[in-house]
Structures are given as structure tokens and as C-alpha cells.
């Protein structure tokens, strides 16, 4: 008789179904029904306290509910890398070293972490971020990649490749002789990819996390600071709306809304608690390719 398997609704990985309470690849619970809003957003199920995610000969245990901790038990041949300020604790035996990154000046200028830190097993090392929310595990199959907004990355296994790219979503304002360039999504985004081997990527979403799939050509407007990750196939562009009933003064606060337009095909994910993006309200002098709507 064939062994029954369980296919996770979140990461689509299939595993033997015996005695599962959570998916061994991404930690999503198996005993809750999908929480899908009428508008099509799938609420990411919180990883159950103490769930284990297996990778290679190592595993990651998710601990806590408000600000969850990702506690890696690394085998000798496995490694993870992380931005050094998310390290919560480690055993003295875990070897930690710097992983150099290309484009150091640009990263420094853009406020992105200059040093990515690598930890080599054997031993335990644990990470957490600084806001209530959820750990979002993203298992990456060979040949797949995701784009992640900056400063949301927690850790990735050694098999996951890391790169970054210019978002090309920006606008310039002019105030007298001063010109300032603003980046609603940040100047750069992280790109994580799996080459020949599968890998595990962990993000931290502030608040709750929601995912939806966009069909080819389908688009949605999202607050830029709420974007968590997207498939590399999803395009993005600046979008501005001018509400009716407003008037322009020497400063135009309240005269425009700034969004990012995401267009499919592919998955997008957002977080419900986001940073406020400060729009200085000054007149725009230049923008990246953008759509504009006046009500």
C-alpha cells in the first residue's frame, strides 16, 4: 500500500503524513484550515511554538509567539548567514565569521548591512528581530528565487544565494535649490535564490503576514513599506494618486498618495505593521517610471 503524503498549503512541499502537526519544511500548522479573505489574501499561519524546520542535517526551532525566536541547531557541515544585529544568542562553539559582499560603498550609502555574518556548525545559534510579528519561513526549491524588501531578512541557510538590486522606484523633490531623492521601497532589495540545492530563508514580518498570487497582467496597489517579499516575476512601479477636493499650496501635504504598483504573474506578501514613509510634500521634479491618477 502506498504511503500517504501531506502537501503543505503554504510551501507546497510533500512529506510523509504520519503524525504531523506542522510542516517539517516550513513549520506551517497542518491542523488549521486556510484563512483566506474575501479579497483573496491568504493569512500566513503562525508557526506553532517549538515547531522544527528541517534542512540538511540541521533544523531550526521556532520559539515564542509575540517576537518569535529562530533557534538553529547546526550540524558540523551546515551553515547559516544573517545580518549581525539579529543575533540573539549563540553557543561559544559556533564559529562566526564575516561574509564579504560586493558593492560595499553603494550598500553603505543605502543604509543596508555592510557585513553579512556567517555561522558554521556544530552548535546552536538563535535570531530574533525587534518588533512583534511572525517568522516567515520560505523554503526555496532549486532554481527559484524571491525578492525581499530591505531589513526584513533574518537568516538563510548556506545553500541560498544572496544578491541585491536597485528597486528603481523613486521620486525627487525640490525645495529651493535643494533636490532630494526618495526611495519608498528603499534604494535596494535583497534577492535570495536556490541554485542546485534547496534552501531555507527566514524573514520577520511585523504584525501579521498575508500572501496572494497575482495572475499575469493583474495588478494591485500596496503601501511601499508594507511589502514583505515578491516573486522575481512580479514587476513594480511607482503610482501616485491625487484625491479630489484638495488644493495645492506651497506645500502639498495631503494632496497625493504614494503607492507601489505590483503586477503579476507571481506571489506577493505584505505585513500588517509597517513603518511610516515620510512624504515631504514638496513639488516633484522627477520620478522613476510611474502611473498617475487624479480623482
Amino acid at each position: 500500500m502506498a504511503e500517504s503524503t501531506y502537501t503543505c498549503r503554504w510551501c507546497r512541499m510533500s512529506t510523509p503524513a504520519a503524525d504531523l502537526t506542522s510542516c517539517p519544511t516550513c513549520g506551517a500548522p497542518v491542523d488549521v484550515r486556510d484563512m483566506v479573505s474575501r479579497s483573496g489574501w491568504y493569512e500566513l499561519p503562525a508557526v506553532p511554538d517549538m515547531a522544527r524546520l528541517q534542512f540538511g542535517r540541521s533544523y531550526c526551532q521556532i520559539e515564542g509567539a509575540y517576537v518569535p525566536v529562530a533557534d538553529f541547531n547546526l550540524a558540523a557541515e551546515d551553515s547559516v548567514y544573517f545580518a549581525h544585529h539579529v543575533l540573539l544568542w549563540r553557543e561559544p562553539g559556533v564559529n562566526v565569521s564575516a561574509m564579504s559582499l560586493r558593492g560595499g560603498w553603494k550598500r553603505l550609502f543605502a543604509g543596508m548591512p555592510l557585513v553579512m555574518t556567517q555561522a558554521q556548525g556544530p552548535g546552536h545559534i538563535a535570531f530574533s528581530r525587534d518588533a512583534p510579528g511572525e517568522v516567515v519561513p520560505i523554503p526555496l526549491q532549486p532554481g527559484t528565487a524571491v525578492d525581499v524588501r530591505e531589513h526584513l531578512f533574518v537568516a538563510a541557510t548556506g545553500q541560498v544565494g544572496y544578491d541585491w538590486f536597485n528597486t528603481n522606484v523613486w521620486f525627487q523633490t525640490r525645495d529651493g535649490d535643494d533636490t532630494e531623492t526618495h526611495y519608498p521601497l528603499g534604494m535596494f532589495m535583497d534577492r535570495f535564490s536556490a541554485g542546485q540545492q534547496p534552501g531555507l530563508l527566514l524573514l520577520h514580518a511585523a504584525g501579521n503576514a498575508f500572501v496572494r498570487g497575482l495572475a499575469a497582467g493583474e495588478s494591485i496597489l500596496v503601501k511601499p513599506t508594507a511589502l514583505l517579499f515578491k516573486d522575481t516575476t512580479v514587476g513594480m512601479q511607482l503610482h501616485m494618486e491625487h484625491p479630489s477636493g484638495t488644493w495645492r499650496s506651497w506645500r502639498s501635504w495631503g494632496e497625493r498618495y504614494l503607492w507601489v504598483r505590483l503586477h503579476g504573474p507571481g506571489r506577493i506578501a505584505i505585513q500588517s505593521a509597517y513603518d511610516h514613509f515620510h512624504d515631504p510634500g514638496s513639488n516633484l521634479s522627477r520620478t522613476s517610471p510611474a502611473t498617475v491618477w487624479r480623482w
Binding site: 533557534d71 549581525h84 544568542w89
Partner: protein, 269 residues
């Protein structure tokens, strides 16, 4: 002869009636198994909404789960002390005074509360801090000494002595992220109750003599006085850009160590 069966609380070791669902001393659920990670960290018990427990002749009730409130019904003659900005509300009948502290100038200089307030029963008074987290209830047994990072203390019962210890070593002061002082709480002849607020989730681990773990300094919450703390710096370099330093606190047993998962990261050069 019939003997009443008792249940020991796994968090504070107090004895409870076999019919109890929560510990009468610290409020920890008695009918929920401990959550212990494979690496040995135990989650602080998540106190059920509206749980009640007792100290002296007074009663404490915990309200809420995301930013919990500790509401205390003070009996006549009982009193508690606290940093004045953590008081949420109180009955008019609760008398207020201040606790005289030594070294006021040093404390003010170090950013620690210059005034610790006292509230005396009868009446109700409630406390909470300003961020998502957990209420950590720690009964302090006679002779025990506990060190707590500054500004994590919520409220303590009158039988607990309060002092502060200067963190030893310039490197520890500059890079540990704790400031110059830690609060020290000690019980003399009588058990007392100490309430902390941990940001995010709180985990506790018991270190054996000589056993050590490296902790992000901003995550340190409390420790037994027997646990030592030293700061270690690791330089992470990437050639031309010089890289960054990473400071971690090496905590060495024997004793309990408590950490919080949401912390302020302290920048290094």
C-alpha cells in the same frame, strides 16, 4: 491517614492544591506542560488572562495578553514599590510615598529612576509597561539575590530589598547595553514577589557551574547574582571597508539567566 495531594509549580517550585489550575504564588498555569527548546531555553509561563495569585494578604490579577497589566488589590498594611511611570491607575485610597535611595546623583547620571515610588494598601493599583511582551513573575526566596537590567522592573512586594549594583569593567559599561547599573533584588527573612516586563517573549535557562552562553547584550533580562557577565568583542572585517564589531555578553553559571526576544540592538563601531 489521608494526606492532601499537592502539585509543585514548575516555574517557582511552590506547592499548590491538586485541584488548582494556576499557581497561587506566581500565577503560572499548572495544567500546561513546559515549553522547552532543544537548546535548553524554557519559555516563561504565559499567564492566563484574569489569573489571580497572592502575596502577603494581597491579591494580584493579570489582565490582557499582548501588553499585560498587573492589578494588585493591596491589603491594609501591605505595600509595593515601582518606577513611577509604570503606574496605570489606582484607587484614591492607595497612599503614595517615595523610597529613599542612596546615590541619587549617580542614578540620575546613569539614567536610572531617581525616585522609586511606594504604594500602601488598602486599595487597588495597576501597572503596565509600554510595549508588547510578557509579565514575568519571580518569587524571591529568602537569601536569593536577582540582578535585573535597568527599566525592566515593573513592581515588587514590600518584603523584597532593593539596591543596585554597578556593572564592573569599563568595557561592560560601554558595550553591554545595560548602562552603568543593574537593579538588585534580594529577599531577607521572608519570601517576596518581583514582577518584570520582558519585551517580546521571555526565555530562561539554568547554567551549570562554568557553563556559558553568549547573549546579545540588549536581550539580557535577569540573572541570579551568581551568574557572571563579561563582554566579548568579535571584529567582522571585509577588507577595504573595515567591517563591524559584534559585542556579545558571555554569561557564565551557575544560576538562572533570563532573556527577552525583542531587544534594543546596541551599535558598535
Amino acid at each position: 491517614m489521608e494526606t492532601a495531594q499537592r502539585i509543585e509549580c514548575q516555574w517557582c517550585r511552590s506547592q499548590n492544591l491538586s485541584t488548582a489550575r494556576t499557581c497561587d504564588t506566581c500565577g503560572a498555569p499548572l495544567d500546561v506542560r513546559n515549553l522547552v527548546s532543544d537548546s535548553g531555553w524554557r519559555e516563561a509561563p504565559r499567564l492566563r488572562d484574569m489569573t489571580e495569585f497572592h502575596f502577603g494578604q494581597s491579591t494580584c490579577q493579570v489582565e490582557g495578553e499582548i501588553v499585560p497589566v498587573a492589578e494588585i488589590a493591596l491589603a491594609q498594611g501591605d505595600w509595593v514599590y515601582f518606577e513611577h511611570h509604570v503606574m496605570l491607575w489606582k484607587d484614591e485610597s492607595v497612599a503614595m510615598s517615595v523610597m529613599p535611595l542612596k546615590g541619587g546623583v549617580k542614578r540620575a547620571f546613569a539614567g536610572m529612576p531617581f525616585i522609586v515610588s511606594l504604594a500602601q494598601g488598602p486599595g487597588r493599583i495597576a501597572f503596565s509597561r509600554d510595549a508588547t511582551g510578557e509579565l514575568v513573575v519571580l518569587p524571591i526566596h529568602p537569601g536569593q539575590e536577582l540582578d535585573v537590567r535597568e527599566h525592566a522592573f515593573l513592581v515588587a512586594s514590600h518584603s523584597i530589598g532593593y539596591s543596585y549594583v554597578r556593572i564592573q569593567g569599563l568595557k561592560n559599561i560601554l558595550f553591554s547595553g545595560q548602562g552603568m547599573f543593574m537593579d538588585r533584588f534580594l529577599a531577607g527573612g521572608e519570601q517576596g514577589l518581583l514582577f518584570l516586563h520582558g519585551y517580546g517573549n521571555v526565555f530562561e535557562r539554568v547554567l551549570q557551574p562554568g557553563e556559558s552562553v553568549l547573549v546579545e547584550p540588549g536581550a539580557f533580562l535577569y540573572k541570579d547574582a551568581s551568574v557572571t557577565m563579561t563582554v566579548e568583542t568579535q571584529k567582522l572585517t571585509t577588507g577595504l571597508f573595515g567591517g563591524q564589531g559584534m559585542n556579545l555578553a558571555r554569561m557564565t553559571g551557575p544560576g538562572r539567566l533570563g532573556i527577552q526576544s525583542m531587544y534594543v540592538h546596541h551599535h558598535t563601531d
